[in-house]
């Protein structure tokens, strides 16, 4: 009898083999090639070593580009969280028909290409754009403000473009919270704010972590939006890599920057995951 029973909790690794093979060929192998290339001393060969890494890490300007890219991601993620959380909360608390409408509004941006959305932002932020025209009509400003090609404009545009990535995990996390918990908290004498702080927010932390992770990764690598709304004088890592690889044909340095960027992003992801694990402990405590 016992021999017929299979342990259903054992992972069947073979099922993952096709995907694993796909990743090995199309992701791991190119990455290894990239790494080997980054060890070349000069674009036309000339020995192997860590010269490219030394050049990047010893250069204040390059480190500045890396720092401003990672910082840009933080700002975009914070703005997305601030604006996205109420939307997700509203979605969970709304009646059925309103849920549909909110979901449609959230998903709508995903149905148009990121290039189109970014161009819309050029129209909105321009000197004769909607924002400037409204402010001038209201008499609040005399000359148009410069918003396009500024970091503030870029953060707002990126936040809108990446918003679904934040809202969707938040909705999932908030839906999973038992509404009776909030009622119980109210019965026990907690106000709305205290209930939110002590019950809802901690329970939704896994969703916050997942949303932040997705938004962050998407924001710092958004080549199109960064170059169209940010312009040619604001240099972030994706454009830096493109410039070195294409315009300057310096593939080893471009490869080294890519690897460093990857490592920096992995570090951030690891930090987020750590937060996620801590939050799970917190939520269950």
């Amino acid at each position: 009898m016992r021999t017929n029973l299979r342990d259903v909790t054992v992972y069947e690794l073979r099922l993952a083999a096709p995907l694993a093979a796909f990743f090995a060929v199309f992701f791991v192998a190119p990455l290894l090639l990239l790494f080997v290339l980054s060890l070349q001393a000069a674009p036309d060969g000339g020995g192997y070593g860590v010269a490219q890494y030394v050049a990047f890490l010893g250069d204040a300007f390059s480190l500045g580009v890396l720092g401003s890219t990672l910082w840009l991601g933080v700002k975009v993620t914070a703005l997305c969280l601030l604006l996205g959380y109420p939307v997700a909360w509203l979605h969970v608390r709304s009646p059925g028909w309103a849920k549909g409408v909110i979901m449609l509004v959230v998903l709508l941006p995903l149905l148009t290409s990121v290039v189109v959305r970014t161009f819309a932002w050029i129209v909105i932020l321009g000197r004769q754009g909607i924002v400037n025209a409204a402010l001038m009509d209201l008499g609040l400003i005399d000359t148009p403000l410069r918003m396009l090609y500024t970091e503030g404009g870029l953060v707002v545009a990126l936040a809108q473009v990446q918003m679904p990535l934040m809202v969707l995990p938040l909705i999932t996390a908030l839906t999973r919270i038992d509404p009776n918990l909030a009622d119980a908290s109210a019965v026990l004498g907690a106000g709305h704010w205290r209930t939110f702080r002590k019950v809802t927010l901690p329970l939704s932390l896994p969703g916050i972590v997942a949303g932040c992770l997705l938004t962050y990764a998407a924001a710092i690598t958004a080549f199109i939006t960064q170059s169209l709304v940010g312009g040619g004088q604001m240099l972030f890592m994706p454009m830096y890599i493109y410039q070195q690889a294409s315009t300057l044909q310096n593939w080893p340095f471009a490869a080294a920057i890519s690897i460093i960027f990857l490592a920096a992003v992995l570090l951030v992801v690891w930090l987020f995951n750590l937060l996620g694990r801590l939050s799970r402990g917190y939520a269950q405590a």
């Binding site: 004769q128 396009l148 040619g232 004088q233 604001m234």
Partner: protein
């Protein structure tokens, strides 16, 4: 090329078959791929050059894959044995790089019917020049009432926050830097005065575009009113009713030849040659010279007329005389350093 469902299906099936039976790929060639430039050139080539080529070559299949010169080089360099492009189009800087890196096939001059008719500077055996590009000042005639006459006008106080430039990734940006360096006593070997001048331009700068194509968007949005610009790049905007005009500054507009090359190891060498022949032919060049393309011809049998004769030069000899030609071999020597420096110094 128009993508129909049948076309797409065919391609998908062919690709599938090539994947399943890799032996097929050896004999079965892909269609000719011509990497033209984006924007005006893509539209012009799609409308004039491609039909002329197909008509002369029994409806041979070909694909336009528009991209910047530097991206063409990257793509060919990534797979030099089996390049994904057959015909490259290059500005002078990248052309020298491509030749130096051994990515181009010498043009079979003795077989060519049109090569000998090209004006002398266009006769380059590494790849002939099918047209010239010119860079001068572009401005919005609605807001700039007195047309600018000199590069120096960009520094005038009334253009505070109205000027657009591009960074040095493009021929336009680099050519402009060299030109203003020359204006202040520099040269292709010494752009120090150019950087100093751009530094003084900062209060006037509204935008540093990442590529020349963005300048067009910025004009359309009223973000900038004046910028160094490419004569051909604005023609399509103008045709669509965007208020933008070109003027050659009195110091002389910058001109450079654009060369067309057969890619080394191309599987479609013969068709590539035929396409280039079509691009050099007087018929195609004469059509491309007309509105709305206004592309400057290099074939001496084509008489310059219309808008080009009015705005730029009445014939190729005058073009040679009036325009400024820069030494791109010299520029390439230090361009990487300039780009690094521009990254660091030009922040607005």
């Amino acid at each position: 090329m128009l993508l129909t469902r049948r076309n797409l299906m065919q391609t998908a099936l062919t690709l599938g078959a090539m994947h399943a039976f890799p032996g097929l790929t050896w004999a079965q060639a892909r269609p000719l791929v011509f990497a033209t430039f984006t924007g005006s050139w893509e539209e012009a080539h799609k409308a004039v050059l491609v039909p002329a080529f197909r008509k002369a070559n029994g409806n041979a299949d070909m694909v336009l894959d528009p991209m910047l010169s530097v991206d063409q080089i990257s793509k060919v360099k990534a797979a030099p044995g089996n390049p994904p492009i057959d015909v490259m189009l290059h500005d002078p800087g990248p052309a020298l790089q491509a030749v130096a890196q051994g990515l181009v096939e010498p043009y079979p001059v003795e077989k060519s019917a049109h090569f000998k008719d090209l004006i002398p500077v266009a006769q380059d055996a590494n790849g002939p020049a099918p047209f010239f590009q010119t860079v001068g000042l572009t401005y919005n005639p609605d807001t700039v009432k007195t047309p600018p006459t000199s590069w120096a006008d960009l520094w005038r106080p009334e253009f505070k926050g109205k000027v657009g430039i591009t960074n040095l990734n493009s021929t336009l940006g680099t050519g402009f830097l060299v030109e203003i360096a020359k204006m202040h006593g520099g040269s292709e070997a010494n752009v120090e005065p150019g950087f100093a001048a751009i530094d003084k331009l900062k209060p006037n700068l509204a935008a540093v575009a990442a590529n020349p194509g963005q300048l067009a968007t910025l004009f359309q949005q009223g973000q900038i009113d004046i910028s160094p610009g490419n004569f051909n790049a604005i023609q399509i905007l103008k045709a669509r009713g965007v208020p933008v005009e070109f003027v050659a500054p009195k110091e002389g507009a910058i001109a450079f030849k654009t060369t067309i090359h057969i890619v080394k190891n191309s599987p479609n060498r013969e068709l590539a040659f035929k396409l280039i022949e079509a691009a050099l032919s007087p018929e195609v060049q004469a059509t491309l010279m007309d509105s709305p393309y206004l592309i400057v011809p290099t074939n001496s049998k084509v008489r310059m007329g219309g808008e080009i004769a009015k705005v730029l030069a009445k014939d190729q000899a005058e073009l040679q005389r009036k325009f400024v030609f820069q030494d791109w071999a010299k520029i390439n020597e230090q361009r990487a350093e300039w780009i690094q420096r521009f990254n660091r110094d030009i922040k607005i």
